[in-house]
Symmetry: C2
Subunit: 336 residues, 2 copies
DNA sequence: CGTTAGCACTCTCGCACCTTGGTTGCTAAA
DNA sequence: TTTAGCAACCAAGGTGCGAGAGTGCTAACG
């Protein structure tokens, strides 16, 4: 539908705009790229591209700027061809994180930092929702006769804990008994299993109010979307981008990002779709406040454990770089 | 040294400037406050206050603006008199957090959110450096013959965990033995004790390379300043302040805040000094990038467990409100 | 001596105006 | 279909001017 040359023109324009953040015109385009035609010809192409909705003018007699649709075709082309050929994803990033900590939190933190710096965007690394894996062990630690801590360990090494307060005194023997029972009941099950079996079964042990209480807390533990295990870094990177030189532009974005609810929903559909990496451009975002920004996200982890690693920046972001970086992060986070 | 009236003038000026964020002149001052003198008189006082270094003019023929020194006397006066009389610290905040979660992380999160909203500043709640308390229990969970998780529980309910990789295969019996030994050795000790006794003693058990390895990891666990247990919220609040309407003003601040190292050192001396709440104004901050901002911080937790709750905003912040809010947060976080 | 009124002075801010550089769209020619 | 030339356009940046706000000074007053 789009002639070969016009695709080249669009691509050149987007690359220039990404680099310089200024509207780019026909002459500049012919000077910076070997298009082999004169500015006048390019002008015609630009006009056609504008009619097709891929670019627009901020005002008459300025250069052109890509629209969301323009970025979209650019990215699709990138995803289908550009990245497949160059399979090594972001060597700089891989080098930096080689031999990183085995501690999951620390690794997430470092990955996030590397992402932010290498892409000049805000990066978010969300932990897999606790316990995609199976329960390996449950430990109860008594703090007093009124309080205890529940610690749940998954076989992928994740640990969650929760303080529980009893309505009546509980001896350490009772606690130990409950611990044994719980381990017998729940070890080897996934979070989903636990909830399902609890709904269905009427295990006699559940009559015990203590066990009942603790199981509720365990379920709570497992289901928590666990906001505190999201690492985000790179607001300063974002501030350096010219589109955010005015605080008013950044404010709506930050409001969304600081609201865990919204943030989580943003990544709901990260996994779906064929491509392993999701790119959401400008108005493609569900929240209208995010009209000016793009998100490159990608799930990680084994099975359906839904960790997400993402990069957030202005629509004028270096998509190629971002996609490679996110993929690199994905692979780093997978084989921890 | 400062006459009664001049103190009143200074105070009035600072209050107005905090409210309107604009340089305030003599006439405005007499109109908005019942000073009982004419603008001309106030002008003389302002001139004197400027000579004394408490206020300054952004440029000739503009109103006056408080200097760091001006804020300092204002705050000192506040701390010595104003707050003592009104002992109820920030009822709105207390109400909001009544019956909050017993989970420490969740409580920190909610406290941070409340602080940010009620003060219109950035808020930071840092967890007590893990294990100011005493070790209550150590649990080892085997993941494979090569890997295990160390979980340390303190008697104040904090939990820390760490994955450790062995250089050779370890059976679950060996692990259980090590766990027993560790509990016998370390339960009841504080982090400081552990390190001290390890330096001094030459317990025979430590010859065992496995135990040795695990103890090292435990110490690591205890000492970690634990960056991921800091909750900060309210960047959007900060963005709403006129002093940060330009992103360039916010950039240095964010760079400092995103660097855990610097951030931690910032609160090093929070505890010292007689007053329970630390107020650091503008250039009093160690980092020169923080010249334009103030920090109101306050330690919390029992004993010398060094949790910190703080509020960060422009030097033109509502100190009275911030101090009350931080104190309220302190008391909420104490009796969890 | 402290306080007040009047007045000249200074400086920023906002507005109008102009110039300049870069870009477009159109037309006609190759 | 491509190219060259040309008129028109518009944002950005600089200049000049008037309005407004505030100061500092001086002189008068109690």
């Amino acid at each position: 539908m789009l002639s070969e040359r016009r695709q080249r023109v669009l691509r050149a324009l987007i690359e220039d705009y990404i680099e310089y953040a200024l509207p780019v015109g026909s002459r500049t385009l012919t000077e910076r790229h070997r298009l082999g035609v004169s500015p006048a010809t390019v002008r015609n192409d630009l006009s056609a591209l504008e009619d097709a909705g891929f670019i627009q003018q901020p005002h008459t007699s300025a250069g052109r700027v890509p629209t969301d649709a323009g970025y979209r075709t650019f990215v699709d082309e990138l995803l289908s061809s550009g990245l497949a050929e160059e399979e090594r994803p972001h060597p700089a990033m891989m080098d930096e994180l080689r031999g990183a900590a085995c501690e999951l939190d620390a690794l997430m933190e470092r990955t996030s930092a590397a992402l932010a710096r290498l892409t000049d965007c805000l990066s978010i690394v969300m932990a897999p929702s606790v316990f995609a894996g199976r329960i390996r062990q449950i430990t109860l630690v008594s703090l007093s006769v009124w309080q205890a801590i529940i610690i749940v360990v998954a076989d992928d090494g994740q640990v969650a804990n929760r303080t529980v307060t009893f309505s009546e005194e509980v001896t350490s023997d009772e606690l130990a008994a409950a611990q044994n029972l719980l381990n017998r009941l729940l070890v080897g099950q996934s979070a989903r299993d636990v909830r399902r079996s609890l709904d269905a079964s009427t295990i006699e042990a559940l009559r015990d109010p203590l066990v009942q209480l603790i199981i509720d807390e365990v379920v709570e533990c497992l289901g928590v979307s666990d906001g505190n295990r999201a690492h985000s870094l790179g607001i300063s990177s974002l501030l350096r981008q010219p589109e955010f030189s005015d605080a008013k532009a950044l404010l709506p974005v930050m409001e969304v990002l600081e609201d865990d609810e919204v943030l989580l929903h943003t990544f709901d559909d990260t996994v779906e779709g064929g491509s392993p990496v999701m790119v959401r451009i400008g108005r493609e975002n569900p929240a209208s406040e995010l009209a000016g920004i793009s998100i490159v996200a990608c799930p990680y982890g084994r099975g359906d454990s839904e960790g997400v690693v993402a990069v957030i920046g202005p629509t004028r972001m270096n998509y190629g770089n971002a996609i490679r970086a996110v993929r690199a992060a994905q692979s780093v986070l997978c084989d921890d």
